[in-house]
Symmetry: C2
Subunit: 262 residues, 2 copies
């Protein structure tokens, strides 16, 4: 039992350790949200996604892939994209905010791991028993990361994460407890609420990483978020929609590195 549990713990560190090592080597805290909007014509989507990864890979530590790509592309195409991501020395996270029953979660994540993803974002709302239990177990056997939502970045996030429970804690507090109890590798916490990042950092310690979307289009505060303890920042439209994504990624990465030092 002892051997098995330490093996699981060692494997469960793989995702966070990889991310940290890449972040140090590239001197970047940026996770690029590959949110390419090619609804009018998806024929160039895979190629454009690969080109974007190629051009920005010196300034980012990971890529986050959501329905912008997962819906139009087949898993074979996503695998090919993930191979390209790996060749560029970074890792990729599947952002499907998974919240289904265990049978579906198991099959979905097995497809994701086979396709070369290193981590998956899940919604802890759905529960552990008969739902996310299978995701944690298998992910940590394989050294993959399970990332749980803690507080999203949009205005209406209060309608879920901000609800106060009968025991006077909020869903946000409850989700931090779950992240710790269930062994999440990281949590998602919007830069639109830096005060929550400080609370999470204190509660979670250093082992569970804090990944923050919401800077840019949603108006989050990257500087305050880093000061509050954010480990990584997700940028999408600020890089993807820039006429020169490489330049945008480099500038954001340098600016964040300076802020982290100051």
């Amino acid at each position: 039992m002892k051997e098995a549990s330490s093996r699981v713990e060692a494997a469960s560190r793989t995702f966070s350790n990889s991310l940290e090592a890449i972040s140090k080597s590239k001197k970047s805290k940026i996770i690029l949200a590959l949110d390419l909007d090619h609804r009018r014509d998806t024929t160039k989507l895979l190629g454009d996604a690969k080109a974007l990864v190629e051009s920005t890979s010196d300034y980012i530590c990971a890529v986050k892939i959501n329905f912008h790509l997962i819906l139009p592309l087949s898993l074979t195409e996503i695998s090919s994209l993930n191979e390209s991501i790996t060749r560029n020395g970074i890792i990729s996270i599947a952002d499907i905010k998974l919240n289904d029953i265990n049978n579906t979660n198991r099959i979905a994540t097995e497809y994701l791991w086979d396709a070369g993803f290193s981590g998956v974002i899940v919604n802890p709302f759905v529960g552990f028993n008969g739902a996310l239990d299978v995701v944690y177990r298998r992910a940590h056997e394989l050294g993959k990361g399970v990332i749980t939502l803690a507080y999203m970045s949009h205005k209406g996030a209060d309608e879920g994460f901000g609800l106060e429970l009968s025991n006077r804690i909020t869903i946000f507090d409850e989700f931090l407890r779950r992240a710790k109890k269930w062994g999440s590798d990281a949590v998602i916490l919007g830069t639109t609420r830096p005060e929550k990042i400080a609370i999470a950092r204190k509660f979670l310690g250093k082992k569970i990483k804090i990944i923050c979307p919401g800077t840019g289009a949603q108006g989050g505060d990257a500087t305050a978020s880093i000061a509050a303890g954010a480990d990584y920042l997700i940028f999408g439209r600020a890089i993807v929609d820039d006429p020169n994504p490489k330049n945008s990624a480099r500038q954001i990465s340098r600016s964040l590195a300076l802020k982290a030092k100051s």
Copy 2:
């Protein structure tokens, strides 16, 4: 304004009306969960899914498609499957339990509508403001259905839907209120908790439909659920994993029709 709102209301009824008309004509309350597990070899997945629809289409009123198919298949393949579903006189629902910010939700659902889905399942936990607002607006312009989770069928569903809020209502009660306030076309409510179906039926009235997973592998009670007010029942493994899916669908459909009459 009056004209606009009645146009929206008329369009918003399209999903429910279609489902009801098909259910009456096929004398079936069954929504088939196309949960084919082809992880070892996905080459025959599309063909097998089409064959399953073809063989069971006389005994089902809709098909529910989740990550079992959405991950491995491209949207072009899913579109081709939906065309085949339409040709067989039934409609299809995308079950991705969508719970993202508005920009991602908008793009995801536009892909789904373009691919021929008639409805989408979303998690109301994520909120309306800056999240699901865009899904309802566009879906109802197009006559598509928005189906919100009310209480899922797995054991750990209590860990989310069962949470008691500081105002002494549960998340389940809150989600029923949202379904009514936001204009959901249907809610998802597990047959594992028929007492909740009775509460939902009373609160929602007849216009918002109640769709129930959880019978079969998860041990839900179809008879009690129909008695409590379930409109449609989702069956997956009980049909998909049967050596003779057509026979299984026919038997379940007849058995439900008898129970509804008695």
